[in-house]
């Protein structure tokens, strides 16, 4: 069930730009305008439409979207009142894309401040050149995207063998064929209906053998700042929980994967990359939250982690902030132990997932300290090295998963 407003009575489209939202009235006009400009400039011969897939926002998001002057027709879709979640929004988009017979769908976040018309070209054009899924490639500040850098990227790379740098980037493109596959999927969890949707879509694309490319956006992703302390918990649990769910679901695939392969690149020649704005991180708070985790979950962690990893974690606990280090190999193997525990967990998955958060703060604290004197590029190499560590830990995963 959904709510639809289609004033131009659009019944078919080759190319769709979808903009998922929830209470984005103050900013949704900007990406809507840029999407229209991009569709007109680069896809003038295509039959296009812009769709806002919303969660029945009460702040006037619908009005802000529909009143934005555009050359391209617009459709407003919403979940029923009270139903929220980005995944639910995108499910409505999958359905509408199939109804309209779209060949290509581009999704951009509603709170984007740095989007240009070229983003629409770069995310959409590969879909007309036989690519099934397009992930964004943009320069991010070394402290931005820490769930991506420390979990989503290294884990998907080690599991599925595809080097997709931004598997939960929020801006992406996919083919109409893939939209049908997404829509037909039966294992639709509450996490996928929320922030787990991005990693779910990327993983399905990887496992389905669809040709994947990464597209240079040319500009860094700049969007409305969110308070990580307020929104991190649910998002973390949904993203990492979906990764673990997919590990169970896709085990026959990932157990055959060895090492990783580079992913095709689209959009070279954009000139100089613009640098992202700085991101402030409070190292002391990360360290304190890591230490506080021992009071809340210390005994629980001993049940989840192998004796060897528990011992190493105890050693890390004793380190002062000045000499703090949470090694990447310890982090990678801990995630393996949590994934195995998740696989066997019948009740209490929520607690299991929430208990990872202090450890994630510890690993993030260590990464921030290590990368503090580094340029963005040097920090990027650090992340690549961490990915290598995750790939080497695959043998540990295989042993633990099947023991």
């Amino acid at each position: 069930m959904h709510i639809e407003e289609n004033p131009h009575d659009v019944q078919a489209a080759d190319l769709i730009v979808g903009i998922p939202s929830y209470n984005e009235a103050d900013i949704i006009s900007f990406p809507t305008q840029k999407a229209s400009e991009g569709l007109v400039k680069y896809f003038g011969s295509k039959n296009s439409v812009i769709i806002n897939c919303d969660n029945d926002s009460k702040d006037g998001t619908r009005e802000a979207f529909m009143n934005t002057p555009t050359e391209v027709p617009k459709i407003y879709l919403s979940t029923p009142p009270g139903v929220t979640g980005k995944g639910n929004n995108l499910k409505n988009l999958f359905r509408k894309s199939c109804d309209l017979g779209a060949q290509a769908i581009v999704v951009v976040d509603a709170d984007l401040k740095s989007i240009t018309p070229r983003w629409i070209k770069n995310l959409g054009e590969p879909l007309f050149e036989d690519f099934g899924f397009v992930a964004p490639l943009y320069v991010r500040h070394k402290y931005d995207g820490t769930i991506t850098n420390n979990i989503a990227y290294p884990m998907t790379r080690a599991l599925y063998g595809r080097r997709v740098r931004q598997p939960i980037g929020g801006d992406f493109g996919f083919s109409g064929e893939l939209a049908e596959i997404y829509l037909s999927h039966e294992n639709w969890t509450p996490a996928i209906a929320a922030f787990g949707i991005d990693i779910w879509m990327s993983t399905i694309a990887m496992c389905h053998g669809k040709s994947i490319c990464q597209s240079f956006m040319g500009r860094p992703k700049v969007h409305k700042p969110k308070d990580p302390g307020e929104s991190l918990g649910p998002m973390f649990v949904q993203v990492v929980g979906t990764i673990f769910d997919m590990m169970i679901d896709r085990c026959p695939f990932w157990k055959e994967v060895r090492w990783s392969k580079p992913t095709a690149i689209f959009g070279f020649g954009l000139g100089e990359m613009e640098m992202p704005p700085p991101v402030d991180v409070n190292i002391e708070r990360l360290y304190d939250k890591f230490q506080a985790g021992f009071a809340d979950y210390g005994s629980f962690w001993k049940e989840v982690l192998s004796a060897n990893l528990s011992k190493k974690l105890s050693e890390v606990k004793e380190l002062s902030l000045a000499g703090f280090e949470f090694p990447a190999n310890l982090w990678a193997e801990m995630l393996v132990d949590f994934a195995v525990a998740y696989k066997h967990c019948k009740d209490g998955k929520q607690k299991l997932m929430e208990s990872i958060i202090p450890l994630y703060f510890g690993r993030t604290c260590s990464y921030v300290i290590e990368s503090e004197p580094m340029t963005i590029q040097q920090a990027e190499e650090l992340i690549e090295d961490q990915c290598g560590v995750f790939e080497y830990s695959k043998s540990y995963l295989l042993n633990r998963w099947f023991e």
């Binding site: 389905h208 679901d249 060895r258 580079p262």
Partner: protein, 126 residues
């Protein structure tokens, strides 16, 4: 036997790599420049390319893009005396990036990993 194409404008490097990698059991072919590289790949059909970046007449990163256009699945190991080219986003199209060293153990390891790399065509779930 796996065949490796070494592309480097320094003869001493080509000879060193060829000798060391032949001892590892690989068949080696070499090219002293990027001239006609695509044709060389078409004829020799290597299983992997070791590609220098800073060559007198060619930029290895541009050659990498040319290789990727026509032979997407051939593993390419970039091998340069400079680590700074890692900062060029074009380098991520390579399977691995190795900084040249008298000790070839890292190069051999990356070659082995690139040749072993495997991704099933499609999940059995779909």
């Amino acid at each position: 036997m796996k065949k490796i194409l070494i592309v480097d404008d320094e003869e001493v490097i080509r000879i060193l790599y060829a000798e060391e990698l032949e001892e590892e059991g690989y068949e080696i072919v070499t090219a002293g420049s990027g001239h006609g590289l695509i044709e060389v790949i078409e004829v020799e059909k290597p299983d992997l390319v070791v590609l220098d970046i800073k060559m007198a007449e060619h930029d290895g990163l541009d050659l990498l893009q040319d290789i990727r256009k026509d032979f997407y699945n051939i593993p390419v190991v970039l091998c340069s005396a400079y680590s700074s080219f890692k900062g060029d986003l074009k380098s991520i199209a390579a399977d691995y990036y190795v900084v040249k060293s008298a000790d070839l153990s890292e190069l051999k390891q990356k070659i082995r990993m690139a040749l072993e790399g495997h991704i099933p065509h499609q999940s059995t779930q779909e």
